[in-house]
């Protein structure tokens, strides 16, 4: 930096700043109008009592927030979200890592497997939701015939409130495991091969190489994958909405589906906004905490 910028230098700087602003303006317009303004607006609506049809909103202060804190359905939804968070981490991460390690070790030989294993991630959540809704149908689906083959009766996986959430979670894992597989594969292929050779020459076993060298080197990748999975699980919507609409009896209700139902089906706009903002605060806090905790751990290691 120049200590005393000449008039020419200052004018040039201002000219650059102006160019930068002009170039960013269109993008900023979309972001401010469709992302930032809605967040502020959502919070504003949550402070009112409003069904969405009256011409003016009635000020309600924190009444909606007081209701949210005592709302059993909301906490039930949050609990379901947390179950998805935990089971997704426990199922998708290890399987994804195992498949990626295998693909990385075998190279091009397993290419056909790689493509087939990746297929589930290519379908949209809505399509997957429908596909499994029909596949799990107790009469026309694929589960009842299998159960009959082993002498069982009709199975209604999505119809029972004890099984529905776990059934949905298994579908979520089916959809997302391929993603983490490819994600870890990209991380693994960035590790230079001479590292493996050097480790083997030094007398390391394959298992030692994996746990002592690969896992520590992949730590940033694994960390990002976990953050993604956790935040993704907290804001889940499409697939569950299509498969079960939160039912039966709220057993698969999530924060996002509960918000949608309040705002757009029961037309409680202000309470829907409160749920949305509750979600926003929970997700933002979790992401910041995760980034903070996990980056510190990395520094220690």
């Amino acid at each position: 930096m120049i200590q005393n910028p000449s008039l020419l230098g200052r004018r040039k700087k201002r000219e650059i700043a102006r160019t930068a602003l002009l170039f960013s303006l269109p993008a900023l317009f979309f972001i401010v109008v469709f992302i930032f303004y809605p967040i502020v607006n959502s919070f504003w609506i949550s402070l009112h009592s409003w069904k969405g049809i009256e011409p003016t909103m009635k000020w309600a202060g924190l009444a909606n927030w007081a209701k949210l804190i005592k709302d059993k359905s909301f906490f039930n939804a949050l609990k379901n979200n947390l179950k998805i968070v935990i089971l997704s981490l426990l199922i998708q991460m290890p399987i994804g890592m195992a498949l990626a390690t295998l693909l990385d070790a075998t190279g091009k030989k397993m290419n056909a497997f790689k493509i087939a294993w990746f297929l589930p991630y290519l379908m949209s959540s809505v399509a997957i939701g429908y596909l499994f809704r029909y596949a799990f149908d107790p009469i026309f689906g694929i589960i009842t015939p299998i159960s009959k083959l082993f002498g069982g009766g009709a199975v209604d996986l999505l119809g029972s409130s004890t099984n529905a959430l776990y059934t949905v979670i298994s579908v979520i894992c089916w959809q997302y495991t391929p993603f983490y597989m490819v994600y870890y594969l990209a991380g693994l292929s960035s590790i230079p091969t001479d590292l493996y050779e050097a480790a083997i020459i030094d007398g390391a076993k394959r298992r030692q190489y994996f746990f002592r060298i690969v896992i520590p080197l992949l730590f940033p990748t694994i960390r990002n994958a976990c953050i993604l999975s956790i935040v993704g699980s907290l804001k889940y919507f499409d697939l569950i909405f299509v498969m079960t609409e939160g039912g039966p009896f709220g057993s698969t209700e999530l924060m996002a589906t509960y918000m949608y139902k309040n705002a757009f089906q029961s037309m409680k706009m202000s309470y829907g906004s409160t749920i949305a903002m509750g979600m926003f605060f929970i997700i933002t806090t979790v992401s910041i905490l995760l980034l903070f905790v996990l980056t510190r751990k990395e520094k220690d290691a």
Binding site: F34, S42, P145, F237
Partner: protein, 276 residues
Amino acid sequence: MMKKILFRTLIGILCVIWLVICVFPFLFMVITTFKTHTEMMSLGVFALPRTFHFDNYVTLIQSSRFLRYVLNSMTVVPISLLLILATSSMASYPLARLKYRFHGLNYSVILAGMAIPIHVTLIPVFLMTKRLGLYDSIWALVGPYVAFNIPLSVFILTGFMTGIPHYLEEAAEIDGCGRTRTFLSVILPLAIPGMATLSIYNSVIMWNEFSFALVLTQSEANRTLPMAMWDYKGRYTSNTPMIMTILTLSAIPMIVAFFIGQDKLIKGMIAGAVKG
């Protein structure tokens, strides 16, 4: 030695089991499309159809109702994509190539958009759309689609443009190019590979987008393809083969996109993931 063979067989079996888990639902979906409704009831779900019926496909392709959904998706996705590419390449240029006072602020404002879950904005965007008189039209979808895909696109393109050697820009400046000219004829052409990745990745996302389409449109004539499944559900609720045909048809573009740009799609996905 024995142990090694046993271990390899075990891994092989696990691979095949996982393969079946991944592929079986697709087989169920595709095979069902070739059956008639009655055939499915009498033969059971696992049996292959006696003859392959293409009736379900023919019915759908001939139905103007279904084509309307396809047409709507084919209008909204390219228009939004063009806007995304234009706005985000413009925004990336100063972030990658220029030094100025609010650089950091500018970058973080745009990237902050990536962390926001879309459902938080759903109600205000719905109200705004109503106020603007755009409710229940495909144009209502363009704004949110562009806004929510800009942050990642800027992130990727900024990375791309930072890698362009400085002497090219200096040469253009010496030749008397202004900033706009430098951007259009030096930076933009060199950023095309990055834009290709973005095009595939963003198109796939928008082609499948469900939440905004559900909330911002209402009538069948104005809805995009993911809503076709939703709307047809009521009509063909027990006609599983018909629903499966809609699913198959709407998944085809995705699978084609995957085979055209396998590496690019995966790169985009991973970049989208690393954003955090």
